[in-house]
């Protein structure tokens, strides 16, 4: 689960990390009074709160949304209301949102802070080594992902302990690598220990402070932040779980998550029903080979309840993009007969109006076949994943 910038910053500040003063606003008037509360003369930052990188380089779909993207520096008080009106309710498109963009429902009003230099800091998990990693890099206007690709040596990576604070020599290493002035030493120690602690105590899966700003007096300020929390630990992060912004997901995604099914949307035309992310990936690869795109997939892994499975399948059947359904179930834990019951229940409620190819393998496969044959639903049978993709491609061609 991702949280918004202002929420992440609030958490960081609770762990002693310095952030610019800011107030969240849901209406242009709230933005105006927030700005007045924060400072008499400005300047201020207006920041669209959608969960995406590169909001500053984004653009609004609607016309007449003024100069600038999702992050704006405002120098005069008069301009706050105007800009807040332009941003709130508009749809921001960034490199991460896809062409449909995301609606801006709240903006964060912040005091602008002048800094001497910027750098990048994050904590993430190195999967191969199975350990926490602190990463820092000087920033020269380049996107950190681009730096990671072209100049990995410009990123310092340090393993962090899961039981203890960051070691003083590690902080020293970061100091030297970033060539920070000696007056920043205490502030850096505070920052590194802060992000390290936040990561462990909030069950984060990744925290990014991009950028950290260095002030003239040596202080370090988190100017922007992204934080992802481990979905599997939300049960013990009750306070953070409440921050979930459902407007960030489609209605179908929200629905699927109620049943704990993984559901993903893309821009193609086939709906996939699977019982593992790996098999979804492999099916999408095969569809792509036939120049067919995937509209969505649902992973009903772990589904042991017919009604839940039916609800999951309905999400696929009712997605308007879906022109064909590909079902690949390799039953181990999931029993094929329950999936078959789910298909019949879902189809009787919402109808099956597109070709559907089914391939069952494993636990209770024969019972599943019998259930569907008795239902007289016009499904097409396949014996392998490859055959299922071929048959669906053919059936979709015949329909069109």
């Amino acid at each position: 689960m991702n949280i918004h910038e202002y929420q992440a910053k609030k958490i960081l500040s609770e762990y002693g990390i310095k952030i610019p003063k800011g107030i969240i606003a849901y209406t242009p008037n709230e933005a105006k009074s927030a700005a007045e509360k924060l400072s008499k003369t400005g300047p201020w930052m207006l920041k669209a709160q959608i969960q995406s990188s590169a909001r500053d380089k984004g653009y609004f779909i609607e016309k007449d949304r003024g100069e600038g993207g999702g992050i704006r520096l405002i120098k005069s008080k008069k301009k706050i209301l105007e800009n807040a009106k332009q941003m709130l309710g508009a749809t921001l498109v960034t490199i991460q949102t896809g062409p449909q963009g995301k609606k801006v429902n709240r903006i964060y009003v912040e005091n602008y802070i002048k800094v001497e230099k910027y750098f990048y800091m994050s904590v993430a998990i190195n999967r191969v080594k199975g350990e926490l990693t602190l990463m820092v890099a000087p920033l020269l206007y380049a996107d950190i992902i681009k730096v990671a690709l072209s100049h990995p040596e410009r990123i310092l990576k340090i393993p962090l302990s899961i039981a203890q604070n960051t070691k003083p020599e590690q902080v020293k290493e970061v100091m030297d690598f970033l060539k920070l002035p000696p007056r920043s030493a205490k502030h850096l120690e505070n920052l590194v220990n802060g992000i390290h602690k936040v990561f462990l105590q909030t069950d984060a899966s990744m925290i990014e402070i991009n950028p950290v700003g260095l002030l003239k007096n040596g202080e370090l300020v988190a100017l922007d932040s992204k934080m992802s929390i481990d979905d599997n630990a939300l049960y013990r992060q009750v306070k953070i779980a409440c921050l979930k912004d459902e407007s960030e997901s489609s209605e179908r995604e929200v629905n699927a998550s109620k049943y704990k099914f993984t559901y993903r949307e893309f821009d193609g035309s086939v709906g996939c029903i699977v019982n593992g992310d790996g098999i979804a990936l492999a099916a999408m690869d095969m569809l792509k080979e036939k120049s067919i795109g995937t509209a969505c997939f649902i992973n009903v892994k772990g589904g042991v309840d017919k009604d839940k499975i039916a609800s999951g399948i309905k999400i696929i059947m009712t997605n308007p993009r879906v022109e064909g359904i590909l079902l690949n179930i390799l039953g181990g834990f999931v029993r094929c007969n329950l999936i078959a019951d789910g298909i019949v229940a879902a189809a009787s409620e919402v109808g099956l109006n597109v070709p559907m190819v089914i391939r069952f393998e494993g636990t209770n496969k024969d019972i599943a076949k019998e259930i569907l044959e008795n239902s007289r639903l016009p499904v097409i049978w396949a014996d392998s994943m490859e055959e299922s993709v071929e048959k669906l491609a053919k059936a979709m061609e015949e329909v069109s």
Partner: protein, 289 residues
């Protein structure tokens, strides 16, 4: 011969009295697996599925001389169960549970450093040596005895790999699912090493996927060994744009950007046979009959 488990492996089940555990342990017993007991805290001294139940792994090991465990416990309980199993110095521990918190896995990874326990999973279908031992949730009827090793990160693609071996009219020495999660216990290198040490394994099917760097480090290991056994590899996720929610965001930063095509290139330049379509595996396997 096989890797990690065979007909002589004595195993216990942690969380044996649960519904899913009972269903799968019963099937494993019918398959011939030497399950010798189980644990459920608070139910020690009772019998379940005609097997003795203990409160702790330590007691169970003392009484039964088990060397392996399969855990069917809720996500919250995995860390504690893993600690018990690792402290009891079991050789093999299989964790079926999915949705284990990342931080708990970080702690388990730390416990495993310097320990002899091979921790398989979490979020894995487990390990199966056909006709000998099944620790997990595999649909046992698809497996055939033979000399192809199968190792995969994705659960469902593990089954797909097994079916490909069957299609080539061959069978499996051992099949091991590494697990689908961000953090896993043993990795490709552990499995490949064991398959190389196993006389009965003639060739290996390895199924990787987008994200993580597990395939790349395995390629590096494979490149540098002599007496290579043939490895037929497939990497899923080519159709997925990187940066989509499927990937783990930290991957790019910790490992550098590696697309599925890059991964496939790295595997093939290390000497593995890489197929673009999972259903082409059997064609390559047939060449090693």
């Amino acid at each position: 011969m096989s890797i990690f488990v065979d007909k002589n492996t004595k195993a216990i089940c942690q969380g044996i009295t649960g519904t899913q555990a009972s269903f799968h342990i019963q099937r494993s017993l019918e398959y011939g697996t030497k399950i010798v007991g189980g644990t459920t805290p608070g139910k020690g001294g009772s019998m379940h599925l005609n097997l003795p139940v203990f409160d702790t792994v330590k007691e169970a090991v003392k009484e039964t001389q088990a060397t392996a465990s399969v855990m069917y416990v809720p996500p919250k309980a995995v860390k504690v169960a893993a600690r018990e199993a690792i402290e009891a110095e079991l050789d093999v521990v299989v964790s079926i549970t999915d949705r284990v918190p990342l931080k708990d896995m970080l702690e388990i990874k730390a416990m495993l450093k310097g320990s002899k326990t091979k921790f398989i999973g979490p979020n894995t279908p487990g390990i199966i040596t056909p006709k000998e031992a099944r620790l997990g949730i595999f649909p046992e009827n698809i497996h055939k005895k033979g000399n192809i090793g199968v190792v995969s990160r994705s659960s469902t693609l593990t089954y797909e790999g097994v079916l490909e071996v069957n299609r080539a009219d061959m069978g499996q020495s051992t099949v091991v699912g590494l697990g689908d999660d961000v953090l896993i216990g043993i990795d490709f290198i552990d499995a490949l090493k064991a398959f190389h040490d196993d006389e009965n394994t003639k060739a290996i099917v390895m199924i990787g996927q987008l994200g993580g760097g597990f395939e790349e480090v395995a390629a590096d290991w494979y490149k540098n060994i002599t007496n290579k056994k043939p490895v037929i590899a497939f990497v899923a996720g080519n159709a997925m744009h990187f940066g989509h929610k499927m990937g783990y965001a930290g991957d790019v930063l910790t490992n550098g950007y590696v697309s599925v095509l890059d991964k496939a290139d790295i595997l093939s330049s290390a000497g593995m046979i890489v197929v673009d379509n999972v259903n082409d595996i059997h064609l390559e396997l047939a060449k090693f009959k």
